[in-house]
Amino acid sequence: MTGVNVLVVFYSRYGKTEKEALAAGVGAIQARANIRLRRLADLASLETIQADPAWRENLERMKKDYIAPREVDAHWADLVILAAPAHRLEEMERYLDSAHQDLQGKLAAVFGPIGDQATGAGLTLVTRAEEDAVGYGRRAAAEARARKAI
């Protein structure tokens, strides 16, 4: 069986998008993919975060659970699942810009309106998210496996 590596990159402040990203990750595992979960660092200032208790608390937890995506993660991945809130795309755009070279030719599955940025960054879009994130992650990983096997 061909091993498929799925990198889940997300940006979340209060945990909602994190849940979606985790669900997509579980779906990828269901499709027998290897996964890595990475959270994008905040661009906001420390003062802004400190002033928002819910954000601050979630961030403390998420900083333990996830590191930010590294160059080696992009190289490792066959498929990149991208998740960010529709109204908060700056962190994701910054990542796609900075990881442009590493992501060239990789497959991508995206949540929300980040498809244009993803294709602009050299990623090949497999699918966009539907409501069921688990099923979405599963289908995207299976699609990546099928393409890798060809």
């Binding site: 779906g27 990828a28 595992i29 269901q30 027998r32 290897n34 996964i35 979960l37 333990k64 659970d65």
Partner: protein, 202 residues
């Protein structure tokens, strides 16, 4: 490592506040035994627990689970054993069980922790494999004897202190694979005796 269905036995000490970030598992029976401290656990099914000594947590990863494990304390280290056993059946629904028992239940006797029996002789976590894990704390000079059904195998891990297994001295962190024996004789040794896990395998 791999011995029969036993895939991994990790003997870990985790510093205060440190741990293992979010990661996935599939088709693996995993149980955790804490010797000292507390281990906080979160997972994608919404479970949150802190596991302490004299408790057992078993997870069937099945179709897929993402979880994280951290030392629950900011001041004290946690010492834990984590055992991975290959399941006899793939694609089972993910499941968690955690329960506590009285420390007297493993004092100078074997306390069943996990096994494949739906109605075990004492409360134990169900796993999808023909394997049973027991814990025991033996005083110095105390011996227990466990017969081995022909064709079955055992793994013994000395978790703390000292024990003697069928004449072989074992200290903390030592493991022994046992095949072609009819029985295990395990004795508490050293100054304070010893604590061990015994895993019975097909």
């Amino acid at each position: 490592m791999g011995f029969r269905a036993l895939r991994v036995l990790n003997d870990d000490r985790v510093a205060p506040g440190r741990g293992f970030g979010a990661h996935g598992h599939r088709d693996m029976e995993i149980f955790t035994y804490v010797l000292e401290g507390g281990l906080a656990h979160d997972d994608s099914t919404g479970e949150h627990h802190v596991l302490r000594p004299n408790e057992i947590q078993a997870m069937s990863a099945g179709t897929g689970v993402i979880h994280s494990e951290f030392n629950a304390s900011t001041t004290d280290a946690v010492h834990l054993l984590q055992v991975w056993i290959l399941p006899s059946k793939e694609d089972v629904p993910p499941a968690y069980k955690q329960f506590a028992y009285d420390p007297s239940e493993k004092h100078n006797r074997l306390r069943l922790l996990v096994g494949p029996d739906r109605n075990p002789p004492e409360p134990a976590a169900f796993i999808h494999q023909d394997a049973r894990a027991y814990a025991s704390v033996l005083d110095r000079g105390k011996t227990i004897e466990q017969p081995i059904t022909p064709g079955r195998h055992s793994w013994v891990h000395c978790a703390q202190g000292n024990i003697v297994l069928n004449g072989h001295a074992m200290k903390e962190g030592d493991g022994a694979a046992v095949s072609n024996e009819r029985a295990l004789q395990i004795a508490g040794d050293g100054a304070k005796g010893g604590e061990f896990l015994l895993i019975d395998l097909a």
